[in-house]
């Protein structure tokens, strides 16, 4: 452990001023007097050096100085005040001058600060000022309007030469976004200041302290006596109103030719949003009451700001709700998230101000607008994912963290990435282009620190220094991030319901197949048995009574026997089909022309459908598949075509192929009863017959066709209109 005296670094310069313990500097500004009483010992333990002058006492007498010695007749009041740990400011007279007494308490120490009262405003004036503040600020419509009003009000209330509203960016660089100044002064509006100008521990102090002044940059400060206590510690001046600033800050102000300052913190949602910074070019003291007024003002400002920013965010998020709803509709249509976000009338770009968007889902990338190439997006997603930066990543200068981003910085210097599910790379991304713009710095920010002799000092020049900002986009706004996150939620909901839908379909399909199998099973039993009866008794007639029959009778018996045999073959086919689910399919190249011929022969055209005209295109392409199964497929499709057209006047069937597609698409076209286009998905279902009972059929024909094609991983579809015929197409993949 280092000893307390070593806490204060020997050499403080701009390289380590972030570490400067500004609350332990042991100096107060000379306009104030500091008394520190040990509450346990009831004894004065420390004072600012100027106290000895004020009271005409010697340093060694410090412990003997009593409250009466300081406050005379009002000592009793002060005593009651501090015994009650009161913090309200009270006024006293010391050595014929009026002071305001400011007290605070830390551990066992009582801090009493005396500040002179100068030019105190009348109570009713203060009252009016306060009500002005509230009315003015709440009337301002925009944040920038509010800033302007604030700057003007403070200028009016305090009379500083220049009043500025200073806003921090994400990197703690500051910009002057509003200014009220004496006309003679050059405007600093829009100037940028590097983060080093207000170091981290100063920003931290602002969070608790609120308003601070430096009354006279040039005046000597009064040291705290004794510097170290009996335990060897310097005095903690964190909450002292009159705490002196760091010498580096003073040097900075001197370089800027500033004589006095006031700074007030603007806090929004618990974070330091910005500062109200007042500069005066000669010494200027603002008394406690005025500072309280400013403090009140900044509090009103902070509240209004928080309110307004969240209102702005809310308004904008609400504005994107309708768009998001539209996107969700688009995505739900066919459950296609990719096309829903990128191909339809409303794209994912419309919920942000981005100019490019991408979605990475199920190993597929879709983009809209100006985006990097797909492989670049993939790399970027990998990098963001592996950097484990949570479910949302934003950057408006990507190349700072991601060097490969330089390749596409032009269209994507800004990136907003939202991951859809934990532990998955699936995400949605938005891109903003590089926006080259000129930034005016209050002095060259790269030379915020200059080496002078052997010492680093703050820069001397605050002249406007223009810098071209590159590889940077417009920042991402809160509402953009919020609506991106909201979209993410919608997408994951869609994915979940899509998954469920697919699962349900699968279950239904499984059930249908099961049904089909049990159907086939019962067919095999229930049809076989009566058929065996027909066959058997026909055979018996043939065996025992054939000779007693005339030719017609003989023929009839033979026809019965032949027909039952064909019927048995048909049952075999259905049984074979029900076995499709189990058996391996035997793939091979076969002659489609030949197969169609066989099917036509099988279907007994001359007997049942003798009025149908059947045209078969010549030279049908060869096909690849399980010939036996394709036979089933064709006999079902051609059989249907015959069945549903033979009641027409000139039933015509055309069997052909579209050779412009690869592999060729085969089709069977008829001029029959057709079907309602709205049911075109349904017709392939098991037992989904859409026709009247006048057409015989089991209702599994097209289900069988569909199943055969599915087994081949091919596709089958239909076109048709009621009473205007139907065309069935199928395509079998080559491999």
């Amino acid at each position: 452990m280092s000893t307390p005296s070593k806490l204060y670094p020997k050499k403080i310069d701009l390289t380590n001023c972030d570490k400067e313990p500004i609350h332990l500097l042991g100096q107060v500004q000379s306009h104030a007097y500091l008394f520190v009483i040990d509450a346990l010992k009831k004894q004065l333990v420390r004072v600012s050096e100027n106290v000895f002058n004020l009271l005409s006492r010697k340093r060694e007498d410090i412990h003997t100085i009593s409250l009466e010695d300081i406050f005379g007749s009002t000592a009793g009041t002060i005593n009651t005040h501090i015994e009650g740990k009161n913090t309200q400011a009270i006024e006293v007279e010391v050595k014929e001058k009026r002071y305001v007494v400011i007290t605070h308490y830390k551990e066992d120490l009582i801090y009493i600060e005396l500040e002179p009262i100068v030019a105190q405003a009348e109570a009713h004036i203060v009252q009016r000022q306060l009500s002005d503040i509230i009315t003015d600020l709440s009337q301002a419509i925009t944040v920038s309007g509010m800033c302007d009003k604030t700057a003007n009000l403070i200028k009016e209330l305090t009379g500083y030469d220049r009043v500025m509203v200073y806003k921090f960016d994400q990197n703690w660089n500051g910009t002057i976004i509003s200014e009220s100044r004496d006309v003679a002064l050059e405007s600093w509006l829009g100037m940028h200041y590097p983060a080093t100008d207000i170091p981290q521990q100063a920003r931290k102090a602002f969070l608790t302290q609120g308003v601070r002044i430096i009354a006279d940059v040039k005046s000597k400060t009064a040291a705290v006596y004794p510097e170290l206590n009996e335990q060897g510690f310097p005095l903690d001046l964190t909450n002292c109103e009159s705490r002196a600033s760091s010498p580096i800050h003073i040097e900075y102000l001197e370089n800027m030719k500033v004589g006095a300052t006031l700074t007030a913190a603007i806090i929004s949602n618990g974070n330091l949003w910005g500062l109200i910074a007042c500069h005066h070019y000669s010494p200027k003291f603002i008394n406690y009451y005025q500072r309280q007024t400013i403090k009140f003002l900044t509090q009103v400002f902070s509240t209004q700001l928080t309110l307004r920013s969240s209102n702005e965010v809310l308004t904008r998020i609400n504005a994107t709700v309708a768009t998001r709803t539209k996107l969700v509709e688009q995505m739900s249509d066919g459950w296609d998230v990719h096309s829903g976000l990128t191909e339809k009338t409303t794209s994912m770009l419309s919920i942000t101000e981005a100019t490019g968007g991408a979605i990475f889902l199920e190993n597929k990338i879709s983009t809209v607008g100006e985006t990097p190439a797909s492989e670049d997006i993939l790399d970027l997603v990998d990098w963001i994912y592996n950097s484990q930066m949570g479910d949302t990543y934003t950057s408006h200068n990507l190349t700072k963290e991601y060097d490969k981003g330089k390749a596409f910085a032009k269209m994507a210097s800004g990136v907003l990435c939202v991951f859809i599910a934990k532990g998955e790379k699936d995400c949605i991304l938005w891109f903003k282009p590089e926006l080259k713009q000129v930034i005016s710095w209050g002095g060259n920010p790269e030379k915020a620190v200059v080496e002078e002799g052997k010492r680093l000092t703050p820069r001397k020049s605050f002249a406007k220094w223009n810098q071209e900002q590159v590889l940077t986009s417009l920042p991402w706004k809160d509402y953009e991030i919020a609506s991106a996150q909201a979209l993410r939620t919608s997408i994951s909901n869609i994915i979940i319901s899509r998954y469920q839908e697919v699962k349900e379909l699968n279950d239904k399909l499984k059930e249908a197949y099961k049904e089909l199998e049990s159907f086939s099973y019962s067919v095999s039993h229930d049809l076989r048995s009566p058929l065996r009866g027909i066959d058997g008794f026909a055979q018996i007639i043939k065996e025992d009574y054939f000779e007693s029959l005339d030719d017609y009778g003989k023929n009839a018996i033979q026809t019965i026997i032949d027909s039952t045999s064909k019927m048995n073959t048909l049952i075999d086919d259905i049984l074979a089909f029900s076995g499709i689910g189990k058996d391996q399919i035997a793939m091979g190249v076969f002659d489609m022309q030949e197969l169609v011929g066989e099917v036509l022969q099988f279907l007994q055209l001359d007997k049942k459908y003798n009025n149908n005209t059947i045209e078969v295109e010549g030279d049908l392409p060869k096909a690849y598949g399980d010939r036996g199964m394709i036979f089933q497929l064709l006999s079902n499709l051609i059989g249907n075509a015959l069945k549903y057209s033979h009641t027409e006047e000139n039933p015509t069937i055309y069997i052909g192929a579209r050779r412009d597609e690869s592999p060729a698409v085969f089709f069977i076209k008829d001029n029959g009863i057709g079907f309602n286009e709205a049911h075109k998905e349904k017709i392939f279902g098991v037992f989904n017959r859409l026709v009247k009972d006048e057409f015989e059929g089991s209702g599994i024909g097209l289900a069988i066709a569909q199943r055969v094609v599915d087994k081949h991983k091919g596709t089958i579809w239909a076109e048709g209109k009621v009473d205007q015929g139907a065309t069935f197409y199928f395509q079998l993949p080559i491999r």
């Binding site: 099973y521 095999s524 076989r528 065996r532 066959d535 058997g536 055979q539 018996i540």
Partner: protein
Amino acid sequence: MKGFIVSVEDNANDCALMRRIFEREMPLVKIHILEDSLTALAWFQSFKDVKNTPDLILLDIKMPKLDGLSLLKEIRKIELFTNSPIVIMSSSDQLSDRDKAYAYGANSYLEKPKSYTELKEMLPVISNYWLTLNK
């Protein structure tokens, strides 16, 4: 070929065809056809003629009330028939039925012929096997 065959078959057509085939092709074989599975069970359970147990039992598989497989299970519980040859004549090609049949103690599982002609070929073959060759 001589012997005693019991067949359980609920389809009247099939029964008639079977009867005719036995009469015509195997006149010396005694065929007893039970046309209902419950009646059949009762017949088996009350069978007392120890010296004249059937040489072969043919069971259809898909029957209402009591299916062939359950009937098979019940028949095997009867001491007299624990070792009688039982052949399942099934119109089902489902592997699960075949496995069950063997598990319940069937001696053979055959697919029922599709046509009269096939049946006429098949019945003498199985009868010959169980009544003569495997006696």
